[in-house]
């Protein structure tokens, strides 16, 4: 492999990975605070893409307005899911919560198939995302430049919220110990609701960016990106936001590089990702940056 090809593939990997990062941040945030694997995260991501699609393609809203609307509406969907399906089970065994999450994911996917149809729709890509750049002979799509910038901005914003605001402090407290936080007079339900709102808003942002890069939306579009983002979150240390960002980049680059270095194994691409997931769970279950798990007796 020549150095040019290698760099091109590296760029491909980073551009894919930064999208994973964007989705993984929301994933990991919900997990970090609630210790819940929100299986439906990928499907919330899909909902975000669809809302944006309807706002722009059907109701012809300008992009900036559509984006804000999408994030708000998707956040509402997230809060609704939390309120209806997850909150009643908060004090139940984890397995119940996990099964419910699987149920929610299936519900959203199939409801979308029934109401929106299974056929893919073309996503109206905003103009600034659509242009392709030629830099020293390497091809980079416009989205690939905007996504990392957006991801870093969101990351900074998120870190600010979590470490510098009151609600963020409450979130960290909930993550440490729900009961103690409640005793301190914090409205835990509200904190968790905000967590879901932010997580889902991030998923919506991810959905819009993803659909701008791969302008095709369909009800099952969130499944694999969701899983890969989850893998990224695990690799980065689930619950750790900066870790999720790094994990996303690693997964993206590894995925591309397996194909680049082993062209004959391109069909196995996803198997590699899941193998990495399992290996990380085994060898370093806390990921690259996660805190060690404390077992409660």
């Amino acid at each position: 492999m020549s150095i040019e090809i290698f760099i091109q593939q590296l760029l491909n990997g980073i551009s894919l990975g930064s999208l994973y990062s964007l989705i993984a941040i929301g994933y990991t945030m919900v997990y970090g605070i609630l210790a819940l694997i929100n299986f439906a995260h990928g499907d919330i991501f899909m909902i975000g893409a669809y809302i944006a699609f309807f706002a722009v393609a059907i109701y012809a809203l300008p992009w900036w307005l559509a984006a804000i609307l999408t994030i708000i509406l998707t956040a509402c969907v997230g809060m609704l899911i939390e309120r209806v399906a997850y909150r009643p089970l908060r004090d139940e065994p984890r397995i119940s919560l996990l099964i419910t999450a699987v149920g929610v994911a299936f519900f959203i996917e199939n409801l979308a198939i029934v109401t929106l149809g299974a056929r893919p729709k073309g996503f109206p890509v905003p103009a600034m995302m659509a242009t392709n750049f030629d830099i020293y002979g390497f091809r980079i799509s416009g989205v690939s430049i905007w996504v990392p910038i957006l991801t870093i901005c969101l990351l900074a914003g998120l870190l600010y919220i979590i470490y510098r605001t009151k609600i963020g402090m409450a979130m960290r407290a909930v993550a440490k110990d729900i009961e103690a936080t409640r005793l301190m007079g914090v409205n835990v339900d509200r904190v968790i609701m905000y967590t879901f709102a932010i997580g889902s808003g991030l998923a919506a942002a991810g959905g819009m960016m993803w659909a701008s890069k791969y302008p095709q939306i369909q009800p099952l579009m969130g499944m694999y990106p969701g899983w890969k983002a989850f893998t990224a979150a695990v690799v980065g240390g689930i619950g750790n936001i900066t870790g999720a960002m790094i994990g996303g980049l690693i997964i993206g680059v590894v995925e591309i590089m397996t194909v680049a270095f082993f062209p004959t194994l391109s069909g196995f691409r996803d198997a590699f990702v899941f193998a990495i997931l399992i290996i990380f769970l085994l060898v370093k279950p806390t990921g690259l940056m996660g805190e060690p798990l404390k077992e409660k007796v």
Binding site: L89, I99, V102, F107, F230, D270, A275, L277
Partner: protein, 357 residues
């Protein structure tokens, strides 16, 4: 005395089952036979899946992987050599499978080998993964199921990839499916009631306490996992030999989802529950077709919404988890004692519901 009564009752029920199958084999039309076969296969799959999810309380999301392993094994064993040359036209099947096939008379051997292959798969994935706790185990087993799917698609020399394998002899009939269902229930019930089974429940109720009591948690989990894999493999094999073809899509995550609904609906940990709801589910799946097909009652016109079934199932699962977590049967098990005392109109003491000695 008591034991003899129970033995007699067990023998009587087996005779009854044989009589019913004998009758059904001749009298049911193919449509109902197919549903009955599917129901029995779901029993095998659900009862074995329940051993991990219900009895041990570890969420595994990879039973579809075990079923796929079993399914491909039986397909490679039973497909006639002539068919093998015809089907594998993209890439030839590798030796030794290309050279031999088991005659239909050795179906049982094939089933057991399929179970063993799936059990080995379960061991290989369980050996590292069972040390993981809770959610992480679920994710790892999901990953395993996905990897099996990717491998099945890519290893054309073994699986024929997405084209799948066709032309398998249709060996699964009511005798095989219900016989296997009965055997699975019997064996798993015995495991659950043994000291191993008690250890499994101890692990479910409190892992740390169980470990403190001297139970080797990982080993107990492994036992459940491998057993579950074995029967899962057999159920996959039965299914493949029922529909006479296999391809990777047959055992996708939807299969796991179906099994999850069955065990949750039946009551996590209840063999009776898993078995009864497996039958219910197979029937319900057919009945719910009506919500998808258009209906004209003269005054009401229901256009029929394709895909509604999966929506109904997922709502059902969520509602069960929210409001009726015990499921239909909770942790209750059917036992002869219960039946006898019901007949004698006596109350059953609570503690007897669990054990069945």
């Amino acid at each position: 005395m008591k034991q003899r009564t129970h033995l007699l009752l067990s023998i009587a029920s087996i005779v009854l089952l044989v009589a019913i199958i004998w009758w059904a084999d001749g009298n049911l039309n193919a449509y109902y036979t197919r549903i009955a076969n599917t129901a029995a296969i779901y029993i095998v799959a659900a009862v074995s899946y329940n051993l991990i999810n219900g009895t041990v309380g570890a969420l595994s999301l990879g039973p579809n992987g075990f079923m796929a392993l079993g399914g491909y094994t039986i397909a490679l064993l039973m497909l006639p050599v002539m068919q093998k040359q015809m089907v594998f036209f993209l890439e030839p099947l590798i030796w030794p499978f290309s050279e031999f096939s088991l005659p239909p008379s050795l179906y049982l051997v094939g089933l057991i080998i399929s179970g063993i292959v799936a059990a080995i798969g379960a061991f290989l994935i369980g050996w590292p993964c069972l040390r993981l706790k809770g959610d992480y185990l679920a994710i790892a087993t999901f990953g395993f199921g996905e990897i099996i799917f990717v491998l099945a698609n890519n290893m054309l020399f073994l699986t024929n990839g997405a084209l799948g394998i066709k032309g398998l002899p249709e060996l699964t009939n009511l005798w095989w499916s219900w016989g296997m269902a009965a055997a699975t229930i019997f064996l798993i019930k015995n495991i659950v009631n043994s000291s191993y089974g008690r250890a499994m429940r101890a692990v479910r109720d409190n892992e740390v306490a169980a470990e403190a009591m001297g139970i080797n948690v990982t080993r107990i989990k492994m036992l459940a996992f491998v057993t579950s894999g074995f029967f899962g493999g057999i159920s996959g094999a039965l299914m493949v030999m029922l529909i006479s073809t296999i391809s990777p899509t047959l055992f996708m995550f939807t299969m796991t989802f179906n099994l999850l609904i069955i065990v949750v609906l039946g009551g996590l940990g209840s063999i009776t529950g898993a078995a009864v709801t497996a039958v219910l589910f197979s029937v319900l799946q057919e009945v719910l077709r009506t919500v998808e097909s258009p209906l004209n009652l003269g005054f009401i016109q229901w256009p029929g919404i394709p895909g509604m079934r999966m929506v109904v199932f997922s709502i059902l699962l969520i509602l069960m988890m929210l409001f009726y977590r015990r499921g239909l049967f909770g942790s209750w098990e059917f036992s002869w004692e219960w039946l006898l005392s019901k007949l004698r109109r006596k109350e059953v003491p609570q503690c007897q519901q669990q054990t069945n000695k």
